[in-house]
Amino acid sequence: MTTDPNPDPVASTDTPEESALAAAKTKGEGIVVCDACPVLCRIRPGKTGACDRYGNIEGKLARLDPFVVTQRTIDQEGRMVPFLEAPWNGEIVPGGGTFVTGIGAGTTYPDYKPAPFIVSAAVDGVDMITVVTEGIFSYCGVKAKIDTDRYVGPEQAAVRVGGEQVGHVTTAEYGSQMLSLGGVRHLTGGSKKEGVVTCETLLTLCNKGAVEMSVDGGAALTIQAGRPPVINGTAEERMRVGCGSATIGIFAKQWQGHADEVIVVDDHITGVLSEHQAGRFLDMRPAGIRVRGRKSTPGRYFQVANPGTGWGGTDIRDPLAIIEKIDPKAAWPGLRLLMVSTTGEHAAWFVLDEALRPQPAAMPAAIERVVERIGENCEPALTTVLFMAGAGGSLRAGVTENPVQLTRSVRRALTRVTSGGAPVFIWPGGGITYMVDITTMPDNSFGYVPTPAIVGPIEFTMTRASYAALGGHMDCIRPVESIRAVERVKAIPWSPANPWPLKPPAGEA
């Protein structure tokens, strides 16, 4: 019996064996060996490998995913016209309605060569230049915002996919939890497997897919851009209207006269109406119901329970458990008490009996309406995925011979940066570090290289004069109509929600 030299076939699937790779690289006129998967296809010029995803284009291995251009159609009054009613025939309409995206454009690694496509289009009499490329990003990651009050895990906890750490839990934000995923330290700083799993995670999320992950000491999550997060198997429905204290502030007046006390249970800040500034302002009588936890300011309590998946993101199943004591000097028989969570998903109505013990009772219609309104004011809980990457490095050399000029041109708003045609947010400070909401980009905009690193589209648009001024590759400019000659071109409709990138930039001239 022999031992398996590859006890972990998953981790090693894409590492071609040295001898196999060497054998595959034997003679053959113009043949390219594809090492994207273990098959190691030898591909003749103009042909594709077994998967039809990689091919030999003029002696080089190239990805053959379609190169995407987006198009908009405009009627005579300048309005966008949707053409989704009819299937798109793939023809590129001549004129100013075509924007060439970086999706499938390919890259020019190493970077000193001009970008794959530098195209010009006349827009309102101004010659606009768009430099189109796909960046290979080692410095990149995803910032994910998960709308939930449920406990996801402690800050700084490792986020894992298939056991590998791909990121960490970062700050809690309003009604949501932030995750930081990817980044150069997970992509290239850890084991090979960690890098590969991180790359797959980023790729799936950025291409709008779902990823299952777990948080050390926290929850199991399934997240997907634009969809409700699934936490420990439960799909989140609503984002809370505010913290417990804010909920008190928002609805105090609507409870007045219908309840003597309202306690809004919240893992962060639990609110108690009659003690709260809002209750005082309405001259409410102190009800003498003291909740557990640490008092912050009047009517606002921290840590009334442990984090969990019960009421308001706590581990509470029975809301009365957070009541520490009821002061017989202040409370009175018949006192009407509402306990409710920050999303209105949990609510209970109590009336104090002669012994000042809360007894469950039927909730009055007026109170029920306000509870429903809390729910109504909660927005649908979503996961949002922002891709963040730095184009401050050598990628700029594909645009200009003097890379810092591009950074300066972007700073001065002379050059517009887009990603797959979608608007990006550019961080102030050095380099071109940008974030983009991946749901505004065309589907499957992202790819990868086995380094591992993420391949993402990026376009720089500016006037011809600006391009010349920053030392652009003027001799490589081609008219947009010539893109039609690219066989693998794929035209998709422009998303009308995005600003049209070819509008001349508004920066200082």
Binding site: T13, D14, C37, V39, R42, A50, D52, C199, E200
Partner: protein, 290 residues
């Protein structure tokens, strides 16, 4: 890069990809069972390509009277499925897609209760039907002009759990492999997908008009230097044929299909060429007009 597993839009079908293998999987049953079955399919898929690659040289070798010794589970299915055809030219690669489909289906069903399931590996399909279940299958006569030309109703009582299609469309013209024949499509029903895959390849090779000037052929290695077909002339394009020529080519294929059916290798087949088709087997069960 490595194995990719994702649910297709709609959330019901599982897509597995690794290198040249693309499989689409769907199961019906309790959601928990379906999910567990998908997990089992993903787990089984992980080692498939690297294991195949290790034995690729043997698997690309034509079969002769001595059975090659292979270790991989999928490789063994390939050899077994192609073995009955060793008297004509065939390599185990003829059944690779079907064998992968059978392997994944077997893995996903182990210990699971599903009413129906299929694994579609690039048109070669392994499926499962619990008692009295049925699966409707559309038949596309020409992959270059895809339309549902007919349908096959698969029922649990038929001795059929695999369906595979072979055609002359090559790489770059809509297909993924080579054929020595000229059929637009040969669809075969057999006991499993590997058997159907191998049989469809052999029947597809038999649908032919040797020496016809409208048929353009090239040595396989001119297109793919690693093709298991080596220097054999594979079909690149077929010009318009006369009706009688179509009948001659289809009849040649039908003879091979009928031989296989009587030998118990297949349950039936549908052969199409330039808008005409012939059926081997119980026509009432095999093909209904769409």
């Amino acid at each position: 890069m490595t194995v990719q597993a994702s649910l297709l839009p709609g959330g019901r079908r599982l897509h597995l990809n690794h290198g040249p293998i693309d499989a689409v999987i769907e199961g019906w049953g309790e959601p928990r069972e379906v999910r567990a079955a998908y997990d089992q399919a993903i787990a089984a898929f992980n080692g498939v390509l690297p294991t195949l690659v290790k034995e690729l040289t043997i698997l690309r070798w034509p079969l002769s009277e001595t059975a090659p010794v292979v270790q991989g589970v999928v490789a063994r299915r390939m050899v077994a499925a192609c073995w009955p055809f060793r008297n004509s030219f065939i390599t185990p690669m003829a059944a690779v897609a079907g064998a992968v489909a059978d392997h994944l289906l077997t893995a996903m069903l182990a210990g699971r209760t599903l009413s129906r399931a299929y694994v579609n590996d690039g048109g070669d399909i392994a499926f499962h039907l619990a008692a009295s279940e049925r699966l409707a299958c559309g038949v596309v006569g020409n992959v270059l002009a895809p339309a549902i030309d007919g349908k096959i109703e698969l029922t649990a009582d038929l001795p059929v759990r695999g369906i595979a299609t072979s055609g002359a469309a090559t790489k770059g013209t809509g297909g993924r492999s080579f054929s020595l024949g000229i059929a637009d499509a040969v669809t075969v029903l057999a006991r499993d997908a590997a058997a159907a895959d191998a049989a469809a390849t052999v029947i597809g090779n038999a649908v032919d008009l040797p020496g016809h000037p409208s048929v353009i052929r090239r040595p396989a290695f001119d297109i793919d230097p690693d093709s298991d077909l080596g220097g054999r002339q594979v079909t690149l394009a077929v010009g318009t044929l006369a009706t009688t020529e179509i009948e001659i080519a289809l009849t040649a294929g039908l003879a091979e299909a009928e031989r296989q059916r009587q030998a118990g290798l297949i349950y039936g087949a549908v052969l199409t060429l330039q808008g005409r088709f012939l059926v081997c087997g119980d026509r009432s069960k095999m093909m209904q007009a769409a």
